[in-house]
């Protein structure tokens, strides 16, 4: 991960050697790492830390969420918009277990977050003491690294390691569990940032021979296709990606998390890959003679049926995590390194080319998709309001320059398909885990990172109700998020599957909803409900102009489907464009 940390460049701090409590040492370490915002929730075991936090409130802003899961998602979103490491606090026992969904979510999407949990006093660990839980064991499969600290003296080194591990290589969440006595005990404080761990080496030497082979393969290909993933964003390689695409005349398709890595207005942007991706990049994956996969992991939602995936293509895989290479798809050339390093070296070796004929094939399929799917979805003209037209209107009115947050479900796919991300935009979404309830807390985390652009969260009525208590956090800190609640009174995505694959038997997917306007009112959040197409654009304008938080509910077609679809088990070239 390319760091934008504002770490102090001098090593070690002015208070070197001073005697402080473990709790204070922890806060000092965080400041050394450039942290200024913490999301969290207090409780018995972590009280010494919170007590000290009060003395540091000028340098460390603490945002009290309404649930630890919310704090975890907020910290992740904060990391995604700032490029820095997110930080999240929770107490022992239930506080720690409430984090687990958030940790797993950050793990699957490779986002650097340092989780600090408190643990019962060390003498009680292992005895099933009050609010003791084995969070180390529980979080092991979903953290990049975790450790327990039972002596105050060990806190600085543990924190230094945690930050180094979280942000280097393939980023990910790290959890440090600190016993209550270690928070209270004194230590002689000094801090050194960690830059090297013997058993962990994220910096891989670049093998020029592999880069040369890649260049030869690309220069000889007639139908190359770039698949850009989250790794492009994490390594800060968006510029290099654009250079590669433009020089070689190579179309760029993106995974869900790679969407904001390449401007969608660019003539070489081929669209989104995968289950609800665009028609052209899915179909043409199976006609490409070369696939250049960058910072992505061939997730099953992207590849569809692996046996029928890219049969005519040779594959170059540029990926920092060696365990991802040859995991799902056999590749012809593996380049195990940071995307930006590789692309910087590769671009000069690429022959200039326009590949007009190949690019025309995309345009032809784009046209078909536009007529059959995009036009009816984004410009239906009559009937109930569709998700696609709401997203398109927001995209037009923000000119693609926003921090877009989504929850999980149909609306997430509508956003992915119809928001035209610009170079300055960011998408914050739950990709690998598909965690409903991510959107609202993530939006407040993103907005806390002061991204400059407006933060707009698209959320379904189902997912909204999983974490809606975070409206309280938004109220308390007056966080200016714009929430667009797309209300279809259904768990839409599951309903769609029931319709398509379970004979329309709607088992437990219809929802009786509260009056969201009254709810927003209870939190003092400005709100407006849109039920007619004619008022949609005006309402979005009002929302964007509002200074503080705003909730816009749109009553959406109840039983609309997200198309196209690569149905489960189908090949990516076997796309369902219309249904019913």
């Amino acid at each position: 991960m390319k760091e934008k940390t504002k770490t102090t460049d001098k090593q070690g701090s002015d208070s070197e050697g001073s005697t402080v409590s473990g709790a204070e040492a922890l806060l000092k370490c965080l400041i050394e790492e450039g942290v200024d915002t913490i999301f969290g929730y207090p409780g018995g075991a972590i009280m010494p830390v919170y007590n000290k936090l009060l003395d540091y409130s000028d340098r460390l802003r603490h945002i009290l969420t309404r649930h630890e899961q919310g704090a975890a998602h907020a910290a992740q979103a904060y990391a995604m918009v700032t490029g820095r490491v997110g930080v999240c606090f929770a107490t022992s026992g239930p506080g720690a277990t409430n984090l687990v969904t958030g940790i797993a979510n950050a793990f699957l999407d490779s986002v650097p977050v340092v989780f600090i949990t408190a643990q019962v006093t060390s003498a009680l660990i292992g005895t099933d003491a009050f609010q003791e839980t084995d969070i180390l064991g529980i979080s092991m499969p979903v953290t990049k690294w975790n450790a327990q600290v039972k002596n105050a003296q060990d806190i600085p080194y543990a924190i230094a390691r945690a930050f180094y591990i979280a942000r280097s290589g393939r980023p990910g969440p790290v959890l440090i569990d600190i016993s209550k006595d270690a928070q209270v005990e004194n230590l002689s404080y000094s801090y050194r940032q960690c830059t090297y761990i013997r058993s962990y080496n994220p910096f891989i030497p670049l093998h020029m021979r592999d880069i040369e082979s890649a260049a030869v393969m690309i220069n000889h290909a007639e139908k190359p296709l770039i698949l850009a993933g989250h790794g492009v964003i994490l390594s800060g390689a968006a510029e290099e990606l654009k250079a590669l695409a433009e020089k070689g005349g190579i179309p760029v398709a993106a995974t869900l998390l790679g969407l904001s890595a390449f401007p969608h207005k660019h003539r070489l942007f081929a669209g989104m890959l995968g289950m609800h991706g665009n028609y052209a990049p899915n179909v043409l994956t199976n006609q490409a003679d070369l696939i250049i996969a960058i910072g992505m992991r061939f997730d099953d939602r992207v590849t569809g049926n692996l046996k029928k995936y890219a049969p005519d293509a040779r594959i170059i895989h540029i990926e920092i995590d060696r365990a991802e290479i040859n995991k799902n798809v056999r590749v012809d050339l593996e380049i195990n390194n940071d995307a930006r390093e590789v692309l910087s070296a590769l671009v000069p070796m690429i022959r200039e080319s326009s590949r007009e004929k190949w690019i025309r094939e995309f345009r032809i399929l784009d046209r078909i998709e536009y007529e059959k799917v995009i036009k009816p979805e984004t410009d239906p003209g009559e009937g109930e309001i569709r998700m696609g037209e709401v997203v398109k209107a927001v995209s037009d009115l923000t000119d693609g320059d926003a921090v877009i947050v989504t929850d999980v479900g149909q609306h997430q796919m509508a956003v992915a398909r119809y928001y035209r991300f610009s170079e300055k935009s960011t998408l914050v979404t739950s990709g690998g885990m598909g965690t409903m309830g991510f959107g609202l807390p993530a939006s407040l985390g993103a907005a806390s990172g002061n991204p400059g652009n407006p933060v707009i969260a698209f959320i379904g009525d189902g997912g909204f109700q999983m974490t809606l208590q975070e409206l309280g956090t938004i109220m308390q800190y007056h966080i200016p998020v714009k929430i667009i609640l797309l209300n279809n009174s259904f768990l839409g995505m599951v309903r769609q599957w029931q319709e398509m694959f379970f004979n329309g038997r709607y088992a437990s997917t219809e929802m009786a909803n509260p009056d969201f306007m009254t709810l927003a009112g209870a939190y003092g959040i400005e709100a407006h409900r849109v039920t007619r197409r004619e008022e949609l654009r005006m309402a979005i304008g009002t929302m964007l102009a509002a200074e503080g938080p705003y909730l816009m509910e749109v009553t959406i077609s109840r039983e609309a489907n997200i198309l196209p679809m690569v149905e489960p088990g189908a090949s990516v070239s076997d796309v369902t464009l219309t249904y019913r």
Partner: protein
Amino acid sequence: MQQEYTISLFTEDHIGILSRITIILTRRQINIDSITASESAIKGLQMLTMVVTTTPDMVNKVARQIEKLVDVVKVFVHTSPEIICQEIALYKVTTRGLMAGSMIGDLVRKHHARILEVTPEYIVVEKSGDKEEITALLAVLEPCGVLQFVRSGRIAVTRQVKELDAYLKEMEEAGRGRTETLEIYN
């Protein structure tokens, strides 16, 4: 396609690392046939030797996943011809049975076993060797009445010439080199 592999890996001596490794194997439904943990030739590094039966494709995938763990230094995967390996077994046999067969001499000469303890009731025999040899001796002793039998996990050294410290040096150089350039950017 399934085959026996010896995975030798070197880790920092940190609590929980074995757990992290077994989580990876469990998720892939791979059974550990045997496991041995010990110190390694390099100070502070632990060595784990595991025997698993799986496909070549899968063993490579899990090896990469294990090597990715922060506290794991290096993972080696070997098939039998690439390593020299031994297991050790102890057999507690009834003295009456063993004497009746008058096999004691054979044990030492033919099976290269050692006698560790002799009492009127039982005799403890020790043998090191590969799995087949140890199983073969068990079959021989069976008629004499085996009271207890225990076999260690496999330990192995590789035939390859490049040793771990050479890998360590390479990795260290790569890491240090990068650290310097990073500091320039800051």
